[in-house]
């Protein structure tokens, strides 16, 4: 089933994004007696019916274990799983499917790299370089392995617009840095990192770069070969897919040299008590029965994104973001937090003398869902001297009316606190 564009079009016309909305059952409901306005896709996006149907089709027709049986269902399950891997490989333009590891999500992907790639290389003379903008899941795994090995975690600064200061970050790279780990897009502020410059600079020192792409994949076209990142992590549930599935992309030669992360079934070729032979890529990193239905759903989500067209999505969301920013600026007392030159799908803000939690409750009461608090990025909040912000984030299914309702909802917040 194609996304609900008019039939003549292969890909969507921007004006037709309104039609897409009816593909998303969760979006089409009333919350607190108002039609839902969902502006929390940066936390988790909603799934189109096509994804839900594919998961259900897999569960009701093809389910079995993968790579294990001689029987038909096992074959079908394996096919679903591996087709999804192929789909993901093409979606980000990886060289081949050996570079696509299924994980449970971004967090799991980052932990895999921390333990399997970094930890064996660390000692007290070594460093891991991150930025001040990171999500906790791109901070804490590094802290843990630094504590265990005596290595240091160093943090590149951000400016008042909420952007990584690229030159300073680059200046911190030397041959004792084992890995640079940075987000592609900040979940708290929507700032886009200047990855090309950073990756080039890191490679000049032969330092690999891990990119946390959790917030990027559903908003812009990712060409991993052009980007030349060494590792790239993302989650299914932030790209119209289900929870519990994610991807670690890694360059093949790096993955080849890494020891397995977890041991178990599927990741071995031969097990003897005198020694075990590990399986080839990508299975070496996929111990145990994987999340097959999650992979099926993620594959369907990618089909959906492809049919809508990543370029169209980018244009659509950019129009909405600009409208949202313009409208927010007309409200007295609103301060925008994060004004990056290049910003995608997210705007954080505060309202003078009103705590973000109160903003969130009053909006929710009007059927409007936003995120409030620290957004799992406490160092970002600390940088701005704030306990938290309110954050509205956009996706493919949002429209201008959502932005209008959101802005009107904020008037109500201000009225109550007047």
């Amino acid at each position: 089933m194609n996304p609900s564009f008019s039939e003549k079009n292969e890909t969507a016309d921007i004006g037709e994004f309104g039609l897409l909305r009816k593909d998303f059952p969760t979006i089409n409901q009333e919350i607190n007696e108002h039609p839902l306005v969902y502006l929390d896709s940066a936390a988790s996006s909603q799934m189109p019916q096509q994804v839900i149907d594919e998961i259900s089709r897999y569960q009701s027709q093809d389910h079995s274990n993968v790579h294990r049986g001689i029987h038909t269902l096992s074959h079908r399950a394996t096919e679903v799983y591996e087709t999804s891997r192929q789909n993901i490989c093409e979606f980000i333009n990886a060289k081949n499917t050996n570079e696509i590891i299924f994980t449970s999500g971004t967090t799991d992907s980052i932990n895999l790299v921390a333990h399997s790639y970094c930890k064996p290389k660390l000692d007290p003379s070594k460093k891991i370089l991150i930025s001040h903008l990171e999500h906790h899941s791109n901070i804490v795994p590094w802290q843990l392995i630094c504590e265990q090995t005596g290595a240091s975690l160093i943090v590149a600064p951000i400016d008042n617009n909420g952007q990584i200061i690229t030159e300073q970050l680059i200046g911190m790279i030397d041959s004792n840095v084992v890995l640079v780990a940075i987000s592609h897009i900040s979940n708290a502020l929507g700032s886009v990192t200047s990855l090309n410059k950073i990756i080039d600079a890191a490679h000049q020192h032969e330092v690999p770069v891990l990119v946390d792409g959790a917030q990027a994949v559903s908003h812009m076209k990712i060409d991993i070969q052009a980007l030349n990142a060494d590792f790239y992590a993302f989650s299914g549930h932030k790209m119209l897919g289900p929870t519990g599935i994610g991807i670690l992309y890694g360059k093949e030669h790096l993955l080849e040299d890494m020891p397995p992360y977890q041991g178990g079934g599927d990741m071995i070729l031969e097990v003897k008590f005198t020694g075990t032979v590990y399986n080839d890529l990508p299975y070496k990193f996929e111990a145990g029965t994987p999340n097959i239905s999650g992979a099926a759903g993620l594959g369907a989500a990618i089909d959906y994104l492809n049919q809508a067209g990543m370029h169209n999505i980018e244009v659509h969301e950019n129009i909405l973001l600009n409208k949202m920013i313009t409208d927010l600026q007309t409200i007295d007392g609103v301060e925008l937090i994060g004004r990056a030159e290049n910003q995608v799908a997210v705007q954080s803000f505060t309202i003078k003398d009103i705590h973000s939690h109160d903003i969130g409750t009053i909006l929710d009461h009007q059927g409007i869902a936003i995120r409030t608090g620290h957004h799992c990025a406490m160092p970002v909040m600390e940088f701005f001297g704030l306990p938290g912000t309110a954050r509205a984030s956009l996706s493919i299914y949002n429209n201008e009316e959502d932005v209008d309702r959101f802005i009107k909802g904020l008037d109500k917040v201000i009225e109550i606190f007047a």
Partner: protein, 160 residues
């Protein structure tokens, strides 16, 4: 437009004028001198942080009670109301009062109109959170922190 009325009603119950007033002008906000007992309360879900300062005299009476911190309107107003309510109570009374309030706020709304949750009009202004389950912890944070201060527990959290 009936729908709009009922919707406004529970929001207005949550953000009563008294609550907004205390949130904007909290009483007893600041530190205490004389080496007070301190305790910190954290709601990790929203990042609210409240610090309580407490002086108890030889007769076991709460002589000084102040707070500091950041939080939403509900948690700040609740902390402000707590300081005025518990001050001058005996230690055991204050402890019992805080326990009662926490358990009352966690109980469903009374069906009988006019039945008061606690014996104080002001404290009953907190009752609006009952329609907002995610906000009950905002209202109980400072009271819970007060109890841990009495028990010499330095740090407490709404998530166990």
């Amino acid at each position: 437009m009936k729908r709009d009325n009922s919707e406004n009603k529970s929001l207005k119950e949550l953000y009563r004028q008294l609550i907004i007033h205390h949130a904007k002008n909290p009483l007893n906000f600041g530190k205490l001198s004389n080496n007070p007992i301190r305790a910190e309360g954290i709601n990790p879900l929203c990042g609210d942080k409240i610090r309580i300062y407490l002086n108890i005299n030889e007769a076991d009476t709460i002589e000084g009670l102040t707070f500091e911190g950041t939080g939403c309107a509900i948690s700040i107003a609740s902390a402000s109301l707590m300081t005025t309510t518990l001050r001058n109570m005996k230690k055991y009374q204050a402890n019992q009062y805080a326990l009662n309030l926490i358990s009352n706020l966690n109980e469903p709304k009374s069906q009988e109109a006019g039945q008061l949750m606690m014996d104080s009009q002001e404290i009953n202004a907190l009752e609006g959170v009952k329609d907002f389950p995610s906000r009950i912890k905002c209202a109980t944070l400072s009271w819970q922190t007060f109890i841990s201060a009495l028990n010499n527990k330095k740090i407490t959290t709404t998530e166990k």
